[in-house]
C-alpha cells in the first residue's frame, strides 16, 4: 500500500519518517513538516539579528550561506574552504542527513591544525533573515594534539518563518581536546533540524554543550563514534522548552573500543504546553570492555499541559562495563518554594530562583571560561524572564 507523498516529500525527493520509525516515535517528522518552505536562494545579510555574546572568531552564515569576505581574520593554523562534498562518513539513512543532501546550501570544511582557537573560540554564526528553507553542512577536523573551541550558534529574526537544516561532522584527532557548543536561539516560528556526527580518536577529550532556548520544532541529533581508547566524552545540555514548542535531543553513543568514558547530563524545563524529548542511546560493542558510560536526564515540568518524554536505551555486548542511566520528571519542590517565600521572596521570584538553580548546575559543571559561562547564563536568564 502506498501513501500519498506530502509536499515536503515531493520537494525533497525522499520519504520522511513517521512515529512508526522507532527513533522518530516522539517526533513525527512527516506530520510535523508536511509543507517544506521554498528554498532561500539569495541570502539576506542585513539586519542586526545577531548579537555577539562573547569574543569569538566569527564565521558568518546568513540563511545557510557562508560569507568569507566578512569573516573575522582566522587564527594561525585554521583554514576554511567552501564548496566541499557533503556528509562523507555519516549514516545515509538518517532523515536529517538525507534532507541536508537534498537541500540547497553551502558545505564548509574547517581544518584546525593549531591551538589558535583554544582561548578565543571559533564561532559558526548562523543568522536566518529570510522566510524559507535553508541548509548548511560543516566538516570540522581537529588535528592530533590540538586544543580547540567551537561555537555553533543560530539565531533568527522575529517574524522570520524558516526551516533550517544543519549537519556537522567533527573529527577529533588523537590526543586533541575539543569544546563544542551548540547554542540554539531560533524564533518561536522557526524549525531547526540538526545533526552532529563525531569521530573520537584515542586519548582525546570532547565536551559538548547544547543550549536549546528557542524554536518551534527542533530536533538535534548527536552521534558519537567512540573509536579511540582512553577517550573522554561529556555531553551536557539545557533544554528550555517553551509554550507551543517541540524540542527533541537524540544522542547515540557508539563505544567501539576498550577503556573509554562518557557522561551525559541534561536538565530540561518545560513551560506552557511545550513538548520535550530526550532519547539517549548507548551502544557498547563487544570489544569495548571497561567502558564507563553515565547518563542522566532531569526535567522540571512547570505545567500540566506540557510534557517530556525521556527514553534511555542501552545496548551492551561487552561484559565488563559500567553503564547507568536515570531520568526524572518533577515539578518545583513545594517545600523549597515555601522556604524561600517564608523569607519574604515573592512567589514568581522564588520560582525563577529554583528553576535557574536547576539549570545553572549544568553550566557550572562545565570546565570552560567564566566569560562563556556568563554568556550561557545570560541566555538562560533571558529565556526564563520571557517564558516563566
Amino acid at each position: 500500500m502506498s501513501i500519498q507523498k506530502t509536499h515536503s516529500e515531493e520537494a525533497l525527493g525522499m520519504s520522511l519518517p513517521t512515529r512508526k520509525v522507532e527513533s522518530f516515535h516522539y517526533t513525527d517528522l512527516r506530520a510535523l513538516i508536511r509543507e517544506l518552505p521554498e528554498p532561500v536562494k539569495l541570502a539576506d545579510t542585513g539586519g542586526d539579528n545577531y548579537q555577539r555574546i562573547m569574543p569569538a572568531v566569527r564565521l558568518p552564515f546568513y540563511d545557510g550561506q557562508f560569507f568569507a569576505d566578512i569573516a573575522d581574520e582566522l587564527p594561525e593554523g585554521v583554514t576554511v574552504t567552501n564548496g566541499v562534498a557533503k556528509a562523507n562518513s555519516t549514516d545515509i539513512n538518517d532523515a536529517i542527513i538525507g534532507m541536508n543532501a537534498a537541500m540547497h546550501g553551502d558545505a564548509i570544511l574547517i581544518k584546525i591544525d593549531g591551538d589558535g582557537t583554544s582561548e578565543v573560540p571559533l564561532g559558526l554564526a548562523h543568522v536566518a533573515n529570510s522566510n524559507g528553507a535553508t541548509a548548511c553542512f560543516h566538516r570540522v577536523e581537529v588535528a592530533k594534539g590540538v586544543t580547540a573551541q567551537i561555537i555553533d550558534r543560530c539565531v533568527s529574526g522575529s517574524n522570520i518563518n524558516h526551516l533550517s537544516n544543519s549537519v556537522s561532522e567533527l573529527t577529533v584527532g588523537e590526543g586533541a581536546k575539543v569544546d563544542w557548543f551548540i547554542i540554539q536561539q531560533e524564533n518561536e516560528d522557526a524549525s531547526r533540524l540538526a545533526r552532529l556526527d563525531v569521530d573520537l580518536a584515542a586519548d582525546s577529550e570532547l565536551s559538548i554543550f547544547i543550549l536549546n532556548a528557542g524554536g518551534k520544532l527542533v530536533r538535534q541529533e548527536i552521534k558519537i563514534g567512540v573509536n579511540g581508547e582512553n577517550s573522554n566524552l561529556a555531553i551536557r545540555g539545557v533544554n528550555l522548552v517553551g509554550d507551543n514548542s517541540h524540542i527533541d535531543v537524540t544522542t547515540i553513543l557508539e563505544h567501539n573500543v576498550p577503556h573509554t568514558n562518557a557522561e551525559e547530563l541534561f536538565r530540561n524545563v518545560v513551560a506552557g504546553d511545550g513538548h520535550g524529548v530526550f532519547q539517549g542511546q548507548i551502544k557498547v560493542a563487544q570489544p569495548a570492555q571497561k567502558t564507563d558510560a553515565q547518563m542522566a536526564c532531569n526535567t522540571l515540568l512547570l505545567t500540566d499541559e506540557g510534557d517530556f518524554s525521556a527514553k534511555p536505551e542501552l545496548e551492551i555486548f561487552a561484559d565488563d562495563v559500567i553503564c547507568a542511566h536515570g531520568a526524572t520528571v518533577t515539578d518545583i519542590d513545594d517545600e523549597q518554594l515555601f522556604y524561600l517565600r517564608a523569607r519574604g521572596i515573592d512567589e514568581k521570584t522564588s520560582r525563577s530562583l529554583l528553576i535557574k538553580a536547576f539549570v545553572d548546575e549544568v553550566v557550572e559543571e562545565l570546565e570552560t571560561s567564566e566569560i562563556m559561562q556568563d554568556a550561557l547564563t545570560s541566555i538562560i536568564d533571558n529565556w526564563l524572564d520571557e517564558n516563566i
Partner: protein, 251 residues
C-alpha cells in the same frame, strides 16, 4: 503583639484536626516557650504562623499587631515581620546562600518601600552578622544549606533572622541536632536579638535550651491546645516530672 484566639487547624488534605482551640498571647519583648509531647501540634503551630498552605485554619484568629494575618501569603507575612526558624532548614542546591540572602533582604526592603542595599552595604552587613555567629564567610558562597552540618544549618537560620530583623521570631526546635557549643552560639545569637519591640515564640522539647534562652512565659501544648501556662519554673517542673501530671490536672 501576637494574639491567637480559639485557633482550629486541620491538614488541608484530609480531615485530621491538629490544633483544637488554641489560645495564646505574646507581648512585645516577651519570650514565650511552647513545650509539649510529640504530636501535640507544636510544629503545626509554627507552620500555620508562617502561612504554609498544607494547613487549613477552620476557626479562630491569628492577630499580629492587631491585624489578622490569615489571608496573607507567606512572603507577605515575612515582610510584615514574621520569621520562622525552621526545624529542618531546606537545602537548595544551585542557589548560593549569598544570592538567597540578598534576594530575601531586598524583597523585604522593597515590600517596605525601602531602596535595595548596594553590594558593598550588603556584604558588609552579612560579614558582620556571620562573624557574630562563627559562620565562615566562604560557607555562604555555597548552595543554600547544601552540605552544611546540622549546627551550621541552625546558625544560618539565626543569621537570616539577624539580617531580616523580624518583630516576631518563631523558633521551631532550634535546639534539635545541636551539640553544646553550637547550642551556646545559637542561643547567644537569639539573646542578642532580644528587644523590647520584638517577641519570640520558642518551641522546644527540652528545658536545656531554656537555660540559655530564658523565657518570660512557658506554655504546655497538648492535643492541639494550651493546657497550662506559667513562668520559667513550669519548664523546670516538666523537666523533673514529665508531662503526665500537667496532662492529668488539665483533664
Amino acid at each position: 503583639m501576637l494574639e491567637i484566639k480559639n485557633l482550629h487547624v486541620r491538614i488541608a488534605e484530609g480531615n485530621t484536626e491538629i490544633i483544637k482551640g488554641l489560645n495564646l498571647s505574646v507581648a512585645a519583648g516577651e519570650v514565650a516557650a511552647i513545650m509539649g509531647p510529640n504530636g501535640s501540634g507544636k510544629s503545626t503551630l509554627s507552620y500555620v504562623l508562617a502561612g504554609k498552605d498544607d494547613y487549613e485554619v477552620t476557626e479562630g484568629e491569628i492577630l499580629f499587631n492587631g491585624e489578622s494575618i490569615l489571608d496573607l501569603e507567606p512572603d507577605e507575612r515575612a515582610s510584615s515581620g514574621v520569621f520562622l526558624a525552621f526545624q529542618y532548614p531546606m537545602e537548595i542546591p544551585g542557589v548560593p546562600t549569598m544570592n538567597f540572602l540578598r534576594a530575601a533582604i531586598n524583597s523585604q526592603r522593597k515590600a517596605k518601600g525601602h531602596a535595595e542595599l548596594t553590594t558593598p552595604e550588603f556584604i558588609k552587613k552579612v560579614k558582620a552578622a556571620a562573624g557574630e555567629l562563627n559562620i565562615p564567610f566562604d560557607m555562604l558562597k555555597r548552595g543554600l544549606n547544601v552540605g552544611f552540618s546540622g549546627g551550621e544549618k541552625k546558625r544560618t537560620e539565626i543569621l537570616q533572622m539577624a539580617l531580616l530583623e523580624p518583630t516576631l521570631c518563631v523558633l521551631d526546635e532550634t535546639d534539635s541536632g545541636l551539640d553544646i557549643d553550637a547550642l551556646k552560639i545559637v542561643s547567644d545569637g537569639v539573646n542578642a536579638l532580644r528587644d523590647p519591640l520584638r517577641a519570640f515564640v520558642v518551641i522546644t522539647h527540652y528545658q536545656r535550651l531554656l537555660e540559655h534562652i530564658v523565657p518570660d512565659s512557658v506554655h504546655v501544648l497538648y492535643q492541639g491546645r494550651i493546657i497550662q501556662s506559667g513562668d520559667k519554673s513550669l519548664a523546670l517542673h516538666l523537666e523533673e516530672n514529665g508531662y503526665a501530671d500537667v496532662i492529668k490536672n488539665a483533664a
